[in-house]
């Protein structure tokens, strides 16, 4: 079965979503990520959605879930690369992605993760 690859980058994990995911694929990604966070003792997860042209409530919920589960496992999540059209649509949809930090690109996302790890309680001030 197809899976979305998860890359290990130091103490962070990087996921690049490039396909229009159907539900099963999204749930598999959640499971895979959770496993890998534990296995690698990762402290940060970067989800690159710069190739996603549509983010509906289901994907939004998935991102929120990943952030919540990661936090329980002591890892921070940053979603990067949201396209303007997607952002505008999400706002209209009424989806605010609580608990999900965002950054413009992978580089800034990593910076954000490093900063949040350096802070004493691991929470940067950019939480939504």
């Amino acid at each position: 079965m197809e899976r979305i690859p998860i890359l290990k980058m130091g103490e962070f994990l990087l996921v690049t979503i490039q396909v229009d995911m159907h539900d099963r694929l999204a749930l598999t990604l959640q499971d895979d990520l959770t496993e890998m966070i534990v296995k690698n003792r990762a402290h940060g997860v970067l989800i690159d959605i710069s190739a996603l042209e549509v983010v509906d409530s289901f994907i939004g919920r998935m991102l929120g879930n990943i952030a919540s589960v990661s936090r329980v496992l002591d890892a921070a999540t940053v979603v990067v690369g949201m396209q303007p059209a997607v952002a505008i649509t999400l706002v209209e949809l009424g989806l605010s992605l609580p608990g999900v930090r965002t950054a413009l690109n992978v580089e800034k996302g990593m910076e954000l993760l490093r900063v949040s790890l350096a802070a004493p309680n691991g929470h940067a001030d950019r939480q939504k």
């Binding site: 995911m21 042209e53 409530s57 289901f58 919920r61 059209a85 209209e92 949809l93």
Partner: protein, 136 residues
């Protein structure tokens, strides 16, 4: 008022794969109609929401995709139909009780905001029909 339908197609909405395909079809039609990127994204996302409802709550159904032409303007209309349990309280469903953590968010209110024209017909036990249109 006559609303000339230029092209129309029925597509099944019964599985997760169908939801993905509906998104692609709506995107293609929107591009053909010359919708800008933001308008495309809005109608595709709205379609995804309703398609998901149709599969998850309606027991599966179909969608009629139509491209419209009225005077100078062009539009894209989607009519989702299912023979599922129907919606108990439409007003309630349209409210913004929509959060990311609870699974009950029906996405109806959100989809309505993304469309130019929107209508819901449903009665408990008699299925549901959701029609949404986005004009260019």
């Amino acid at each position: 008022m006559a609303m000339p339908i230029v092209k129309s197609e029925w597509w099944p909405v019964r599985s997760g794969e169908d939801i993905v395909r509906v998104r692609q079809i709506v995107r293609r039609w929107a591009v053909e109609l010359g919708f800008g990127l933001v308008d495309q994204t809005k109608i595709v996302t709205a379609a995804s929401e309703i398609a998901r409802n149709t599969v998850d709550y309606g027991g599966g159904g179909e969608v009629l995709v139509e491209s419209l032409s009225e005077n100078a303007r062009r539009g894209l209309r989607l009519v989702f139909e299912d023979k599922g349990p129907g919606i108990q309280n439409i007003d309630e469903a349209l409210k913004d009780g929509f959060t990311t953590s609870r699974g009950l968010g029906l996405g109806l209110g959100g989809a309505r905001r993304l469309a130019t024209e929107f209508s819901v017909e449903s009665r408990p036990g008699e299925g549901t029909r959701v029609s949404l249109t986005r004009w260019k």
